[in-house]
Amino acid sequence: MENSFRELKVGFELPALKKKVRQEDINLYAKASRDFNPIHIDEEFARQTPAGGTIAHGMLVLAYVSQMMTDVFGENWLESGELNVRFKTPARPGDNLTVSGKVKKCIEENTCFTVTCDVLCANEKGETVISGETVVRVKKDENRC
């Protein structure tokens, strides 16, 4: 996304990321994250809870937001990213999620630009799964916003 660095300005829309939530990914995420809460991986257990079925880990869905930021900002995001989000609605297996973001502030500092974005993850019904804000410092030699 190197070209997008030059296009960054307030109102710029980050390229959206689309993801389908799959139970096998949730199961693998449970292993990688060591979070084996049955609400995520045990269908029988989850059916008896208010959720009515398994739900994805909130941190798995948040990983999609981080992935969108990495796609745009590369190592700048890994080195200096900040996230502040709220989990609004659980994501369920079969859900089609869209992660989007928009630049809302771009401030020039000595060696970098501090870029603040609104971020959103929504399901196909238009329900907000995650909403919040990200901040990333983009080195000046890589950006002309």
């Binding site: 990914d25 809870t49 909130g58 590369g74 502040n84 989990f87």
Partner: protein, 141 residues
């Protein structure tokens, strides 16, 4: 982790520090993580980097292994600050501390600060996690 070493919500108060937990972020864990999240970025593979959310996930695991929260607890908010990159094979140590607890009038909230350092003692990630707990009095009738 035995049940004995878990802490119940009622035992916790602001300032309480959970015992730290260390993990080695090996290639295999990162590979599973990237597959689970459907992240095909070459960035991680080329430089043997760990996604920062994989680090955050382990910090959350360290916390959840030490605390007993009632069924119905909701993870409502998450703040994260990435302070440095983490590489495959790094040994990370995850610490957490209760920063806020509200338990009155049916409102039960808890915020916990998390800090992750690498094997050199450098902080690589900080954050804050927010939980809302169910009102047990209402549940029990």
């Amino acid at each position: 982790m035995t049940e004995k070493s878990r802490f119940d919500f009622s035992q916790l108060s602001p300032g309480f520090e959970f015992p730290a937990e260390s993990y080695i972020l090996d290639e295999s864990t990162i590979k599973d993580y990237l597959q689970a999240t459907g992240d095909n970025s070459n960035l991680y593979r080329q430089r043997s980097l760990a996604p920062p959310l994989a680090v955050a996930a382990l910090a959350m695991a360290a916390l959840s292994e030490k605390i007993t929260l009632p069924p119905g607890t909701i993870h409502v908010s998450q703040e994260l600050v990435f302070c440095g990159m983490v590489f495959a094979g790094d040994r990370i140590t995850c610490s957490s501390k209760v920063s806020r607890k509200v338990d009155r009038g049916g409102l039960r909230l808890m915020s916990t600060d998390i800090t992750v350092t690498n094997q050199d003692g450098k902080t690589v990630l900080t954050g804050k996690v927010g939980f809302v707990l169910p009102d047990m009095e209402k549940i029990s009738g």
